[in-house]
């Protein structure tokens, strides 16, 4: 029997797979790029959901990882284009245009940053954790602004999309499907993760960390690994975003971006992994549609968010899929 939750998932998948064809058929190529943006932010929001929805860690600095992922691609492309050496690395490596270098670099850089920042900020909890993650993100934001080599405040043009043998990422439909595959792969990995023994400890951290410690868990380590994995996911999203925009600017890691990611998680359904896909779609579509009428489109977003938080605890996904959303 097909349950309500399964049918929601299947319909979602069908829509995601057919979107570019519908857009092309309707002669609206712009919709492909918008859908790609939704997928990329869905990866970032899903990665945040691992620590926010399952681990109870409210990070207000998650866009920092998005930024580091994006700058990884931007910087490698920049040096490859200029023929200059990448600083801080041994040898005279002049970067790369290959996506097989770019995306792993985005993931590696952001997980390394996640490890360091997690190590420092996970010593705090609650509002202090929110503040310290915010502070780190703002530090990175101003750090990138003050680096003229990489465009400073003006950002960095990315000259062409990453090169992957056999795939032409500059074709927007191809790029869309690459993003979709990565989203599904990340969802699968995250799903296994939260259902594993490790995931059990992570969920326990959210409910009663003291109890876990008293049972013999060194909870700090588990939270740190979850934080690092979440950073890696957002880094991947950042690498894709740099490709989509063919541009990287410091704005990508401004704290309001971190706020948007939290809104996506809440709107879509916290602690569901799939929910953030809906959250990303809802927020970006609202922005797209409403900003045509007014630049103060957030005025509409505010009440909607309020209603969702008050009346639909599992967000849009919970509203659609019902009780089972938690386990989906």
């Amino acid at each position: 029997m097909i349950t309500r939750i399964r049918s929601v998932q299947i319909v979602t998948l069908l829509i995601l797979f057919s979107l570019p064809f519908i857009a092309t058929a309707m002669n609206q190529p712009f919709w492909v790029d918008l859908s790609t943006r939704i997928l990329i932010y869905a990866i970032a929001a899903m990665s945040l959901d691992i620590i926010l929805g399952y681990g109870g860690m409210v990070s207000l600095g998650h866009a920092m990882f998005l930024g580091i992922g994006a700058y990884s691609v931007g910087i490698l492309t920049h040096h490859s284009f200029e023929g200059s050496a990448v600083p801080f690395l041994p040898g005279e490596w002049t970067g790369s245009m290959s996506g097989l270098v770019h995306l792993p670099a985005s993931i590696l850089a952001s997980s390394l940053l996640g490890l360091i920042i997690g190590l420092l900020s996970l010593r705090t909890v609650g509002v202090y954790f929110i503040m310290i993650t915010l502070a780190f993100a703002q530090m990175m934001f101003y750090f990138m602004i003050s680096l003229p080599t990489y465009g400073g405040e003006d950002g960095l043009n990315v000259w062409g999309r990453s090169e992957i043998p056999g795939l032409d990422l500059s074709d927007s439909v191809t790029f869309y499907f690459v993003c979709l595959m990565l989203l599904l792969a990340f969802w699968f990995i995250a799903r296994r993760l939260v259902d594993s023994r490790f995931g059990g400890v992570l969920r326990g951290c959210k409910q009663n960390e003291q109890r876990l410690k008293a049972l013999g868990y060194n909870t700090m380590r588990y939270k740190l690994i979850a934080f690092t994995i979440a950073g890696a996911g957002a880094g991947l999203a950042g690498g894709l975003l740099a490709n989509l925009n063919e541009f990287v600017g410091p704005g990508i890691m401004h704290w309001t971006k971190s706020g948007e990611l939290i809104v996506m998680v809440l709107l879509g359904g916290m602690g569901t992994l799939i929910g953030p896909i809906f959250g990303s779609a809802a927020l970006l579509l609202l922005e797209e549609i409403l900003s045509a009428y007014t630049e103060h489109w957030m005025i509409v977003l505010g009440p909607i968010l309020l209603l969702v938080v008050l009346f639909a605890r599992r967000g849009i996904y919970g509203f659609l899929a019902g009780e089972g959303a938690k386990d989906g």
Binding site: R192, L193, D195, S196, R197, F198, G199, G200, V201, R203, G204, Q207, N208, Q210, R211, L212, K213, A214, L215, G216, Y217, N218, T219, Y222, I225
Partner: protein
């Protein structure tokens, strides 16, 4: 008999308040040891220092041959010193079974296993069910912990600590807030543990303490006034004056 736990000259103060004042306490292996005393005597503060929630200002805590005075709480727990809380501490969103399973998982090496599904893991679920049968809660296995009655929650917390196969249990008022029948069924769970697991128990219900304990220590103003068998303690003149006489 050898002492499993031995506390020497333990001090802890909060500002001007001397909560633990030169505390000496020995708990023999395999016994149930009651810790009683008037309100504010520092019983919970003492338990918190033993479990690692608080660190002592000075003094030593020896447990099973190790000086654990500076060990963090999770390390003591892994080493076999488990506790329950005065205010029930569970994972409210988890089912009863999952609460026990995560306790068992704590003893099964590290939990850096990222792939297999924990809910289908026989090596967690089977022993968890066995523990639930032991405390008579197997019929509630799939109930969310938050839906249990108060007494059942207390019992579940005990089941979780038992599931880790501890050398010693620190029970902070296991009967707190329980009705007569609930408290009776808790007794029936605790009694068979005698001789198997060493227990240090803070409890206000004197009937429970005198019925279960092999030894009783009386704590007054952070200091151990007297230790002895229940009969000795009951008969001790200082205890009557300091504690029993007050009621």
């Amino acid at each position: 008999m050898a002492n499993l736990l031995s506390v020497n000259n333990l001090h802890k103060s909060f500002g001007a308040l001397q909560a633990t004042d030169d505390l000496k306490l020995n708990v023999e292996t395999g016994t149930i040891h009651g810790l009683i005393g008037p309100n504010g005597a520092g019983k919970t503060t003492a338990i918190n220092q033993l479990s690692g929630e608080l660190f002592a200002d000075s003094g030593t805590i020896l447990f099973d041959g190790e000086n654990i005075t500076r060990w963090p709480i999770y390390k003591r727990a892994q080493f076999g010193l488990q506790r329950s809380y005065q205010i029930t501490s569970l994972f409210p969103e988890f089912s009863v079974l999952d609460n026990v399973a995560i306790a068992i998982q704590a003893t099964d090496g590290h939990s850096f296993r990222f792939w297999g599904k924990a809910r289908k893991d026989k090596s967690l679920i089977d022993p968890a069910m066995a523990v639930l049968e032991q405390v008579g809660m197997d019929h509630l296995a799939h109930t969310p912990a938050t839906d249990l009655a108060h007494g059942q929650q207390r019992q579940l917390e005990l089941a979780m600590t038992l599931a880790t196969k501890p050398k010693m249990l620190l029970l902070d008022e296991p009967m707190a807030g329980m009705g007569k029948s609930e408290s009776h069924s808790m007794m029936e769970v605790l009694r068979p543990l005698k001789g198997k697991i060493t227990i240090l128990m803070v409890e206000h219900d004197m009937d429970v303490v005198f019925a279960l304990a092999d030894h009783v220590s009386v704590l007054v103003r952070g200091h151990c006034l007297v230790t002895g068998t229940p009969d000795e303690v009951r008969a001790h003149p200082d205890v009557r004056a300091a504690y029993l006489g007050e009621e």
